[in-house]
Symmetry: C2
Subunit: 274 residues, 2 copies
């Protein structure tokens, strides 16, 4: 049974209700030892203040969301994305984040060239890798569900993400979110391929049936069809001892609830369903 | 440039406007040489009458939709699904369909065991294979987009479908729908693996950005982000000379339009965007 000591809350889960300081206070009240903030939440209070608030609360930071979004139509656009990722690395370092989570980006506007987008992603990752190594911030490539291939991430399987890691080398790994990969017939095999070193983050939520929105209808653990304990078992078989980060985008349900209730439910379901 | 001689209309594309005889007449008016009916559309007019109407019109049948849906909670349920697939094989033979398209089914109600569902699918396929061979009806396993893994098909990549074909042997192949597979980084490689014999059907439509409904928001060719000519090129490089079947579920757009306009648009976009 998972322990609350392993729990982290991705602050997207309560983003409609709480700003970063309120969410930090909420997690402390709930006994949750870690968070993963988004960059806009950090920017809103200021990086230094965010780091102070999180540090004073004694919370760990399982990751900073997010870098990536490398593809752009022209070279200037791609350079701007790379520069922004460099800033994200600095922010992650300042916050003491265990990794920078990368949602790598999809097709350029008007483009149908997913192969070209994938090359831009690899070029972008290569361009920021030395900065990440120097800062001690591992780059966690997050394969996103194939339904996001066009507009969010053209890296859609764990196998593809690991191919990138193999080519890029030290300082890269994956953020494994059960929501994105649960359907993959190669999942167990590819998790074995990750090994302990390649698994930088483990994200949990659930796939609802029916799912009514491609982006904002993720489920609380236990409310859907993902066999989270089985996937956690595969991850732990590789020696993973890191945090279990709850990340739920839920416009019609969890974002409308009392955020203390949301956190309470996360704690309970993490123990009982993960 | 594709020729109208290669065009087939999956009758789901106009299902809200026309019954089977009306759709057949519409295709004849539009100069479209082939259709793919759904079993409920056939049943509504009766199998013999459907065969007569289609035959009198001189239309080819690129496939019958659909068999599959093998997973069920208990043995009696699974037997009932297998029996239903045997009836579908007979119907496909009567209609002269080039294949029976199989949407294999997802998780059993209340289950999180996708591995178990996959075993039920393979068992079900094995159970109907001799009937299909005897009837001369190839079984076209259609890998569905991973967003349907829970409720429609637990076979979600071309590679997985081909693994099943390899194990089952003669009489099986795949129905390749660009909507379901366009995102797959292994797509070209797996199409090569299909070869000409393995490619039983080629379905076209488009992936819209944004996609507002997981099931009923497919796009007309040219309105989305799929590089259909590229995928068609990969398919034809294997020697595929079969039909290009347009299958569009579109509750808010194409299902609300004049069906003659829908067919006219299919013809035009097939020529200009595929």
């Amino acid at each position: 049974m998972p322990s609350i000591d392993q729990l982290s809350i991705n602050l997207a889960t309560v983003r409609e209700q709480w700003d970063l300081p309120a969410a930090v206070a909420g997690c402390v009240r709930a006994g949750i030892p870690a968070i993963a903030p988004w960059r806009d939440q950090v920017a809103k209070v200021g990086l230094a203040e965010a780091a102070r608030v999180i540090g004073d609360a004694g919370l760990r930071v399982s990751g900073l969301c997010r870098g990536g979004m490398f593809p752009a139509t022209d070279a200037a656009g791609r350079r701007a994305r790379i520069d922004d990722n460099r800033r994200a690395i600095e922010e992650a370092a300042t916050l003491g984040a265990q990794c920078l989570v990368l949602v790598v980006g999809g097709l350029c506007p008007g483009s149908k060239d997913i192969g070209g987008a994938r090359l831009m992603v690899e070029d972008g990752l290569a361009a920021i890798l030395e900065d990440a190594r120097a800062a001690g911030v591992p780059l966690a490539i997050e394969p996103l569900h194939p339904m996001y291939a066009a507009d969010r991430s053209c890296v859609n399987t764990l196998g593809h993400a690991l191919d990138l890691c193999d080519r890029l080398g030290t300082g890269t790994g994956v953020a494994l979110d059960v929501y994105h990969v649960w359907w993959d017939p190669e999942l167990e095999e590819q998790i074995r391929r990750c090994g302990k070193e390649g698994l930088l983050a483990f994200h949990i939520c659930d796939w609802l049936v029916p799912t009514t929105d491609l982006l904002l209808d993720r489920g609380m653990m236990g409310d859907g069809v993902i066999d989270i304990p089985k996937i956690r078992g595969w991850v732990e078989a590789q020696g993973y001892e890191g945090l279990h980060e709850v990340e739920i985008f839920s416009a019609q349900n969890w974002w409308k609830r009392d955020p203390d209730e949301v956190l309470f439910t996360c704690v309970e379901r993490h123990r009982s369903c993960c």
